[in-house]
Symmetry: C2
């Protein structure tokens, strides 16, 4: 790999989305802490309807790209499908839109808002989560972060503010409804944002 | 939780570190995909020498705060201590410095650079990783990201650029030496940065 050419996006124009299309994406990894993790993940993959997003998977993570509502719908479905009552499972997910290095490729933009994974929105279980919002290229970025945290407070899913993250706790559906709100809010208000989410279910630390 | 007061850091002054001390931190979560994950994590905790960082752990993650060299030393030690030849294990880690909402609290700043976990730097195994750098409050932030990616290219641990992340592959020690370089570079060059890292070892996807 020593002969690799340098990357060129140091010359990308910040403040201008590299893609002209309205593309929200999420890269995520799910970790079932079980000897059966391959089976659990494979089973989740087969259950999620990805017909309204572009998707790709490699050894480290999966990525969905499309309209925000369909991306959140598919990520929510994956986590709910991977949940298993006897398995401590975590998911880390990076939601983003507007990168100057992005392009109008690797995307599927569905024509309508009809969700294709809404059956997963009927399943309820408690989760804990941590979040962080990174509004890029904004000299005054803290008010956006405060707005997103205060929305969690309004919704009753805020737990605490701590170093580098805000902690949330609540029902899995309330959490993903909130993620949908964050993607909509940031997609409208911020040229380029990254929203980091880690969700945890069935942690033995909580049951101890 | 509905009576929770709003957070106030929307009024924090961006571009000014909320802490006056030179505090680097890392919040991380390790996921051993094994029925024995509690034992593996407990064992890793007892092996890491945290005498030169401030540390805290909850149900979702752990955080180390101190001088960059000691924070990286302790995070490297934790991942190496948690590695198990028969277990697919991942770690997500958020390195950061300079948040306007930070304060001179919850930190231990050691007086010297002598690493207390250097025995973990002698263990070698191949890993794959993904990284992302978020330089906050910088209107022209892409050149910093390119510099960090190009450093990985120089070191021969760059794999590919993909949506929302850069992928790396190489020896675990080369990876953490690189993380140390990134924290030093960003700590000097950027008022407030976040460096996201996900490391994976013993993935069956790679062995298949």
């Amino acid at each position: 790999m020593g002969e690799q050419a340098y990357v060129t996006y140091g010359s990308a124009k910040c403040g201008i989305d590299g893609a002209s299309l309205d593309i929200t994406g999420c890269r995520f990894s799910v970790a079932p802490m079980s000897d059966n993790f391959v089976e659990i993940l494979t089973n989740a993959f087969t259950q999620v309807n990805t017909s309204k997003v572009w998707s790709a998977t490699d050894a480290l993570s999966s990525v969905y790209r499309g309209r925000a509502c369909h991306v959140v719908d598919a990520v929510r479905a994956f986590f709910v499908a991977a949940e298993n009552p006897t398995t401590h499972t975590t998911m880390e997910a990076t939601f983003s839109k507007g990168c100057p290095g992005d392009s109008d490729a690797d995307v599927y933009l569905a024509e309508d808002d009809t969700l294709v994974n809404d059956k997963f929105a009927a399943k309820h279980f408690p989760v804990i989560a941590k979040i962080a919002l990174y509004p890029m290229g904004e000299p005054d970025y803290m008010p956006y972060i405060a707005a997103v945290v205060n929305r969690a407070i309004d919704l009753g899913i805020y737990d605490k503010s701590t170093h580098y993250n805000t902690y949330l706790a609540g029902d899995v559906q309330d959490l993903f409804d909130y993620v949908q709100w964050v993607c909509d809010y940031c997609g409208e208000q911020i040229h380029h944002y990254i929203f980091e989410l880690t969700v945890s279910v069935h942690s033995p630390s909580l049951e101890a």
